[in-house]
């Protein structure tokens, strides 16, 4: 039966950290290509938090954030979500559209589709790294976007984690371009059965 995050051992956490590292490294490369700029990335932090602490992830449950959600099919099923603060989303859009970094964004149609494209590329390259690493076939859907309070957006992956245990696992990644820093959080949420498939493919589950 399913794997509980609360019971993950250090080796498994290390493996997940490595997935996060490779996944978001790939995502940073993809981002650099898209922006045609050098994008650096800090070592991603794998975090396991209790639900009560989850709302502090992005500086408070009421902070407005952009959430990009893709469903995942293939050898595993589930979803992947990328969350960034509105301000950081604005910076990414402005870089992509060649505008001054501090220009206010209104989330109009063009900006929303630019963000979806960013989500597509980040999540797509993240998943392709995971696919290569595990030899599993992993296919993302087109992204759905929502802009709202951090707590409300995070409730979507949190509820899925809630079926497994009492904590949420996510990967915090900091991208920087020049002196501009953007922090993003990846939530990879495999379905209960897929979690085991994933750990088995990585050789860290019985």
């Amino acid at each position: 039966m399913g794997v509980y995050f609360d019971e993950l051992d250090n080796l498994q956490i290390d493996v997940l950290r490595e997935i996060g590292n490779i996944g978001s490294g790939n995502a940073a490369t993809a981002l650099a290509k898209m922006l045609n700029k050098k994008v650096n990335m800090d070592v991603p932090q794998v975090k396991v938090l209790q639900f009560q602490e989850v709302s502090d992830i992005l500086g408070g449950a009421e902070i407005p954030v952009v959430g990009l959600l893709l469903s995942v099919t293939g050898d595993i099923s589930g979803s992947i979500m990328f969350i960034i603060e509105n301000e950081a989303a604005g910076i990414l859009v402005n870089i992509l559209m060649g505008r001054p970094l501090d220009e206010a964004i209104t989330f109009d149609e063009i900006e929303v589709s630019a963000l979806k494209e960013i989500g597509n590329i980040l999540a797509g390259s993240y998943l392709s790294a995971l696919s290569t690493l595990t030899n599993l076939n992993i296919l993302p859907s087109v992204p759905e976007l929502a802009i709202d309070m951090a707590g409300a957006i995070i409730s979507v992956p949190a509820i899925e984690f809630g079926k497994l245990g009492d904590s949420v696992l996510f990967i915090e990644t900091e991208f920087s371009e020049g002196s501009t820093k953007v922090v993003g959080n990846f939530f990879l949420v495999p379905d209960i059965d897929s979690y085991e498939v994933l750990l088995k493919a990585l050789g860290v589950a019985d």
Binding site: G2, A146, A152, G162
Partner: protein, 161 residues
């Protein structure tokens, strides 16, 4: 105005008057606010999943609508609340993302609200108002002085129910 008491995700709290119970950024989770009109004892739960019987790991009662309601009432009765004076208000249960295919993941908000209504009804606790559904997050504050539930959103205004 009493103390402001925060209720986290998969959490519940009860309090004597005066107090403000609040939970921030409710999305697909459901906020269940209970108020005893006679003693002004209040309780608030932030539940994530509709039904504890469908999940193996159920150590945290506040995570599930059914067990959260039971535990919250127990907590209030311990403080001296009178069972048949308790009324309920509901908020949350939004669908944050609009996927074209109506997967189970996407309907969880609706299912949480439905489960809360069924549970409260089975316990004969009247639901006097609700602000549920939609596709946006909510912060709620329950005021023990009058049982008023304040609902705050980004872009959908503030209201009292």
């Amino acid at each position: 105005m009493g103390d402001i008491i925060k209720v986290g995700m998969a959490d519940l709290k009860a309090s004597y008057h005066p107090a403000i119970l609040t939970t921030l950024g409710l999305g697909s989770c459901v906020g269940i606010a209970l108020f005893d009109r006679s003693t002004k004892i209040v309780g608030l739960a932030h539940a994530m999943l509709p039904d504890s019987s469908q999940i193996k790991n159920r150590t945290n009662a506040a995570k599930f609508v059914d067990t959260a309601v039971e535990n919250l009432i127990d907590e209030m009765l311990k403080l001296g609340a009178i069972r048949n004076k308790i009324v309920a208000k509901l908020a949350g249960g939004a669908q944050m993302f609009t996927f074209t295919q109506g997967t189970e993941l996407m309907r969880i908000g609706y299912r949480n609200v439905t489960a809360a209504k069924a549970k409260l009804e089975s316990l004969n606790i009247p639901i006097i108002s609700e602000d549920t559904g939609g596709n946006y997050g909510r912060t709620i504050e329950l005021d023990s002085s009058n049982g008023m539930l304040l609902v705050k959103t980004i872009g959908y205004g503030i209201k009292q129910i």
